[in-house]
């Protein structure tokens, strides 16, 4: 069975600084997708960035980028120029051959002015 592990329950960053959130996963599948979701107190999960496993190039969305290491099964999220609005829970998620997403336990990110 696939698993997703986020080893950092909490992280903090100063406004305008850069922070990296870690995620590792375990799978025997070769074709899959990886996602980072943001969950603010409103509870709605918001897609931040996605990565197809067959693509070697790391995905980038404005201030958000990933470091995808397929052999190491690692998928970290880098947030540059952190803003107060980035404060939230961040979840790493995996999707393989089935349609369901498998989530990690989350990392709570605090942003300090």
């Amino acid at each position: 069975a696939q698993t997703v592990t986020q080893s950092q329950p909490e992280m903090s960053v100063q406004e305008a600084e850069t922070v990296t959130l870690s995620c590792t996963y375990d799978t025997s599948e070769s074709d899959y997708y990886l996602f980072w979701y943001k969950q603010p107190p409103s509870r709605q999960m918001i897609l931040v960035i996605r990565q197809e496993a067959y693509k070697q190039q790391n995905a980038t969305e404005n201030r958000f980028s990933v470091n995808f290491q397929k052999a190491a099964k690692s998928f970290s999220l880098k947030i540059s120029d952190s803003q107060l609005g980035d404060a939230a829970m961040y979840f790493c998620a995996y999707k393989g051959g089935y349609n369901k997403l498998i989530f990690g336990a989350g990392t709570r990110l605090a942003v300090h002015p």
Partner: protein, 114 residues
């Protein structure tokens, strides 16, 4: 609609009561998913519909949980004889097809069983 709508936003039930949680997906989205998120945890898959067909219900924790989507649009998650361990946020998500592009989530229903 513009987004995935869930109601009620909060629900308090006495232990043993039945509850029904509603999800109104984005119009045209054929896939609909239910997730359960316990406090401080990541969401856990409950069930998946493609149109009106329930293709995967492997995550439903017991036979007290039942989901339906009779016309391939609105879905209802029903929990019979609620127990304290059912207390959680129940999230609904929809997508136009598979989940390759991620889903659009609703804001969830927070269920508290007292």
């Amino acid at each position: 609609g513009a987004g995935v709508s869930q109601s009620p936003r909060y629900k308090v039930a006495k232990r043993g009561q039945d509850v029904a949680l509603r999800c109104d997906p984005i119009s045209g989205h054929v896939s609909l998913f239910w997730y359960q998120q316990a406090l401080g945890q990541g969401p856990e898959f409950l069930t998946y519909f493609q149109n009106e067909a329930q293709l995967d219900k492997s995550g439903l924790p017991s036979d007290r949980f039942f989901a339906e989507r009779p016309e391939g649009s609105v879905s209802t998650l029903k929990i019979q004889r609620t127990q304290k361990e059912d207390s959680a946020v129940y999230l609904c998500a929809s997508s136009w097809g598979g989940a390759n592009y991620g889903y659009t989530f609703g804001s969830g229903t927070r269920l508290t069983v007292v």
